[in-house]
């Protein structure tokens, strides 16, 4: 901090505060106005839980939510498995035929606009249906699309952890006679569990939230929650949507707190074991 004037420091703090205000303003607004009693858009007219109770009797939302959870669970799991494979290939194998194509295919869904991924998958599925008579659009096709997207994100998360992990650990295990699959299951996997967990959560929320791919890939009877919200949001403001938002924010906040607590506990445990190991070593 040497050489920094008072003004510079406060300019920095001000910029950060305004930035965070910008990022959090919509979230705060959603929570506050979910308790508004008025139907009118954003005019505050008193505290009420009316929209929450209306939400509970909204069958369209509730069935959409159940479907979304199911798809998110499926696609998070498959994304993490495929993403880990891809990340492993990209970190451990520097040279193989088609590596450039492979790495660009892995990362392309990260940046490629979703309308394009959605449309091309849809056109393939519709073409296949014309020729082979399957697959029908529905849960499975949405799952396919979400897995493609989630895999790219999972690969990034797992890859950064694999790169951090020192190669010497795997090499030591090999020298001690571990076979490749043993190295993977006994050394690599335990070291990347945290990254796998974050990748799973990330792809889970990604799938839970996705509108565009779901819209292209859903069929009659497979309307996910974001599709319901999106169709209502297009028409205008709907206070029930605020209530959904507040509820999801509540759940996410709780999940983040639980995750942080578990992480801290695991870290403490690890330190305790480490120090125990060292003191045993010295005896």
């Amino acid at each position: 901090m040497n050489g920094r004037t008072f003004l510079q420091r406060w300019f920095g703090r001000g910029w950060l505060s305004l930035g965070y205000l910008f990022l959090y303003l919509p979230i705060i607004v959603l929570i506050v106005f979910s308790f508004n009693s008025s139907r009118q858009d954003m005019v505050w007219s008193g505290f009420s839980l009316r929209w929450y109770s209306e939400l509970m009797s909204d069958t369209e939302i509730i069935s959409g939510f159940g479907l979304s959870l199911k798809i998110a669970f499926m696609s998070a799991t498959s994304s993490v498995i495929l993403g880990t494979f891809a990340a492993f290939a990209l970190t451990n194998y520097q040279r193989f035929r088609g590596r450039t194509l492979f790495s660009s295919m892995v990362s392309a869904p990260l940046v490629m606009p979703e309308v394009i991924i959605g449309l091309s998958l849809l056109l393939m599925l519709v073409s296949m249906q014309k020729v082979f008579g399957f697959p029908e659009r529905g849960v499975l096709t949405i799952w396919l699309g979400h897995t493609l997207l989630g895999m790219a994100y999972a690969a990034v998360v797992v890859q950064s952890r694999l790169q951090e992990m020192s190669k010497s650990l795997a090499e030591a295990a090999m020298d001690l006679g571990c076979r490749a699959h043993q190295v993977f299951f006994l050394v690599t996997l335990p070291n990347i569990t945290q990254a796998l967990a974050s990748a799973w959560l990330l792809t889970f929320t990604l799938s839970l939230d996705d509108v565009v791919l779901s819209a292209f890939l859903s069929g009659p009877g497979s309307t996910t929650m974001p599709l319901v919200i999106f169709s209502r949001a297009r028409l205008g403001l709907d206070p029930r949507v605020n209530a959904i938002a507040a509820l999801t924010i509540l759940v996410v906040t709780l999940a983040v707190i639980v995750y942080a607590v578990l992480l801290a506990r695991a870290e403490r445990q690890r330190r305790k074991q480490m120090s125990a190991a060292y003191s045993a070593d010295q005896e």
Binding site: A89, L110, V115, I116, M124, G177, H181, A233
Partner: protein, 309 residues
């Protein structure tokens, strides 16, 4: 003993070979089936005559009376080239993406800079606070701006209460609300790579610059900014490429005059039911995006190589 060890080693390597192939093959097959093939089909459909060809897989090449005929329909592309609306939509998508990228850089660079210069103990918290909104629904956060920017929304109420304006400003469903929504949604994609880059910077360069008589501003322009070039490129690409094809934000916050290619593509398929046209528009958008994507990939490989050394 050594020979035993060697044979053991070779067994291990043999294991690696099969495992290695599976590790590469599984994601490759999936990506080919779910990403590459669909694109090729789109390309194929964009060049085909949907009215006569029943199957979209059917031959571009046909063999009649000893003559191989290659039938390529470029009518869709000619139509796009001739129709001003498409051209305007492409240009306007690029314009909004560029404006979004510029504003994100303007807000995000100082933001990432101050984050990186904060005390190391609070940096993880600052970082977490940027990531946290990602965990709540993107759709809902964009939707919230409808309520903030509406004629009787929060911002207008505030401005009227403060006496800045008498009449509510018309902000919703204009290019203003579109840009606000896009900047809001993509700002973290600018901040995170910039932060990752700036936090790694060697502060001794700045000390050297100061010793040699540079003012802080000069040091910033001539050292910090050039050193963070790869972060700027990564951030700009992560914002620019997806925002060119953005659909949800223009649909919720944009107005009738805010032409975006994502919406046109959607309408061609869902409203006009024109597969071939939708495919041609898609192919052109992909071509438009390939150049920035190549830059992004080159940056990424450079970055990876840098990290490995």
């Amino acid at each position: 003993m050594t020979s035993l060890l060697q044979s053991l080693r070779s067994m291990v390597t043999l294991r690696w070979v099969t495992g290695r192939n599976a590790v590469i093959a599984v994601p490759s097959l999936f990506l080919t089936a779910a990403f590459l093939v669909p694109f090729l089909i789109v390309l194929r459909i964009s060049l085909s005559d949907m009215d006569t060809a029943g199957s979209p897989f059917g031959g571009l090449l046909s063999y009649v009376d000893g003559i191989v005929v290659l039938k390529v329909k470029i009518a869709n592309y000619l139509f796009i080239a001739a129709d001003e609306l498409y051209l305007l939509t492409y240009l306007s998508s690029i314009k909004y993406a560029a404006i979004t990228t510029a504003i994100c850089l303007f807000i995000g660079y100082p933001f990432a800079y101050f984050m990186a210069r904060a005390r190391p103990s609070i940096r993880p918290v600052l970082m977490m606070l940027v990531m946290l909104p990602f965990w709540t629904s993107f759709l809902l956060r964009v939707y919230a701006w409808k309520g903030i920017l509406a004629n009787h929304g929060l911002l207008n109420d505030l401005l009227i209460a403060l006496g800045v304006v008498q009449e509510p400003l018309h902000m919703m469903n204009t290019s203003f609300s579109l840009v606000v929504g896009m900047v809001y949604a993509y700002l973290p994609f600018m901040i995170l790579p910039l932060y990752a880059n700036l936090v790694k910077m060697d502060m001794r360069y700045l000390e050297a610059a100061a010793d040699l008589g540079a003012t802080p501003l000069q040091a910033f322009w001539r050292i910090t900014v050039p050193l963070s070039k790869s972060g700027i490129i990564a951030g700009a690409m992560l914002v620019f490429i997806p925002s060119v094809g953005e659909y949800v934000i223009p649909e919720l916050l944009g107005g009738p005059e805010t032409l975006m290619i994502g919406r046109v593509l959607w309408d061609e398929y869902f409203t006009n039911n024109d597969w071939a046209m939708a495919s041609s528009v898609t192919v052109l958008v992909v071509l438009l995006i390939l150049v920035p994507m190549a830059i992004f990939n080159k940056y990424k490989t450079d970055q990876d190589a840098e990290e490995r050394t």
